[in-house]
């Protein structure tokens, strides 16, 4: 056991524990904040394993941008202070989720545990190696992924524009969920979702979690 092993184990434990808390908590915003802790400690794991650049990008992109965007969207739509019974799931779903988790864990453990021998060599990944792999060997998957993201972006814009043209009802629903950052949260500030928002808005937080 070296100091690096201990650091890796600690980061891993924090990551698993915060991940579990993110899924089990009934407070929507707390779930997002636990996700921050989880992603941050995964960055710590990368750092301990010698992939410094990957760890920093993980921090910059996931903690600094993606979760901030998630929190922004949550607070813009509905994020009451206190537990939210809406985001609870049925016992059947829980059992299914537990089975799935157990299956994935077994699969990953079966694949990785035989590889974990006593030999430890942490060479560290130089940023240059990473770049030549990313823009050499893996350049096509990389580019196709960025085209996919671009497509999603354009499609999202197209969907919102189409709703605008369909009529005042659809446009209003969309404007309430996305376009009007000032008017909407005022009603929900005291921590209770209004009947209107609970009924009409596309349930994005719940949908993401399901």
């Amino acid at each position: 056991m070296t100091a690096l092993d201990v650091a890796f184990a600690a980061a891993g434990v924090v990551a698993s524990a915060s991940g579990l808390l993110a899924v089990t908590t009934r407070h929507v915003v707390h779930a997002a904040l636990w996700l921050v802790v989880c992603l941050g400690s995964v960055a710590g794991c990368y750092l301990v394993l010698g992939a410094e650049f990957v760890a920093l990008v993980q921090l910059l992109v996931y903690v600094g941008a993606v979760v901030v965007l998630v929190l922004f969207a949550l607070m813009l739509t509905r994020a009451p202070i206190g537990p939210n019974p809406d985001i609870s799931t049925s016992p059947l779903h829980r059992v299914l989720a537990a089975f799935l988790a157990a299956g994935v864990t077994t699969l990953v453990a079966a694949a990785l545990l035989p590889l974990a021998g006593p030999a430890r060599r942490r060479a560290g990944t130089a940023t240059g190696d990473l770049a030549s792999a990313l823009f050499g060997t893996w350049v096509w998957p990389f580019e196709i992924l960025s085209v996919l993201l671009l497509l999603a972006l354009v499609a999202a814009l197209a969907v919102s524009r189409m709703a605008d043209r369909q009529g005042p009802d659809a446009a209003q629903t969309l404007a309430e969920s996305a376009g009007d950052p000032v008017g909407k949260p005022l009603a929900e500030m005291a921590g209770r979702p209004t009947a209107q928002s609970a009924g009409e808005l596309p349930a994005q937080p719940a949908g993401e979690r399901a």
């Binding site: 941008a65 901030v68 922004f72 607070m75 202070i81 500030m189």
Partner: protein, 319 residues
């Protein structure tokens, strides 16, 4: 020197710098603003030109009652100031004052500083949401929208400098710096400065805390020491961004007698940038939210992309 003692000493040095430099910038702001507006500024605390004004302010903040609103989410509300403050402390450790004077030398320190300061925004968001106050939530919304928009041009501008130097480490970047960069990287420098002021939510980009519209944004419900932490994080942010600008664009320790006085050059250049940031506050009125987004997406992002293309072209053709 044995390693634990050295690490402790380095950490202590960063902590001292973190507690002293923001106060220095704060006092400078008092005085510079006052003289630009034809006033004297603080004159009594401590005797000579009110030098101890901010120390007195700190003592006042400590004495105040620490109130958590009844409807607030207590845990998030209490942790938020620390989340806003600590990233700047960590970032300060990675900024070199001279090639040998850096608390924590990291191979990717330019990315490190950007990544760590990006975490600080979570503190504002947490504070705004957990306060259970409509002004706070509005302030947090504005802060999140603003910081997300201005992070992109900032990262692009820094990427251009990294490309020009062929290094991701701040020490390497300042080492590769030459006076020609002042012209070559000028668009990137302007983009970086504007984005930095916007990230710090300083006037003219202080929409998130606009006191005449939404009281004080995400910090409305905070009192005493926790409020002081938010103020300190703003000034620590000025210190970090000014030093970063000095190292990236002004050559850091390059100057006369740079072998001996390199650290002083970095500090002086950083201080000059800090004065510029203060000057911007006095000179410009607050932007409106739509003007702010327009500036980020229609001016700064294209400018930063153009700078990146220019740097790339030059590096490739001269390599």
């Amino acid at each position: 020197m044995s390693q634990p003692i050295e690490v402790t000493l380095r950490a202590l040095a960063v902590l001292v710098a973190f507690l002293v430099l923001p106060l220095l910038v704060g006092q400078t702001e008092h005085k510079v603003m006052a003289h630009m507006q034809g006033r004297l500024g603080p004159m009594y605390a401590g005797g000579f030109h009110g030098w101890a004004q901010l120390v007195a302010d700190g003592v006042k903040f400590v004495q105040k009652e620490d109130i958590t609103p009844a409807a607030a989410d207590r845990w998030v509300f209490r942790v938020a100031p620390a989340v806003a403050l600590v990233p700047y402390l960590v970032a300060l450790a990675a900024i070199p004052l001279s090639p040998h004077l850096v608390a924590a030398a990291a191979p990717g320190s330019a990315v490190f500083v950007l990544a760590v300061t990006a975490v600080g925004i979570l503190g504002t968001l947490m504070a705004g949401w957990a306060s259970a106050n409509k002004y706070s939530l509005l302030g947090a919304m504005r802060a999140a929208a603003q910081l997300l928009s201005y992070e992109l041009p900032m990262v692009l501008a820094v990427a251009s400098v990294c490309l020009a130097a062929g290094s991701l480490s701040l020490t390497g970047i300042a080492g590769a710096w030459s006076p020609w960069w002042l012209l070559w990287q000028l668009p990137g420098a302007v983009v970086f400065l504007v984005s930095a002021v916007a990230e710090l939510q300083r006037p003219p980009f202080d929409m998130p805390v606009a006191d005449s519209e939404i009281v004080f944004g995400a910090y409305t419900e905070y009192t005493g020491l926790r409020f002081a932490f938010f103020l300190l994080s703003e000034y620590a942010g000025i210190v970090v961004m000014s030093l970063l600008f000095a190292v990236l664009y002004l050559g850091g320790w390059h100057g006369a007698f740079s072998d001996v006085l390199g650290w002083l050059w970095t500090l002086l250049k950083g201080f000059a940038v800090a004065v510029l940031v203060i000057w911007l506050r006095v000179a410009w009125p607050r932007l409106r939210e739509d003007q702010l987004q327009r500036l980020a997406w229609l001016v700064l992002v294209p400018l930063a992309l153009g700078q990146l293309a220019l740097t790339g072209l030059w590096v490739v053709t001269t390599a």
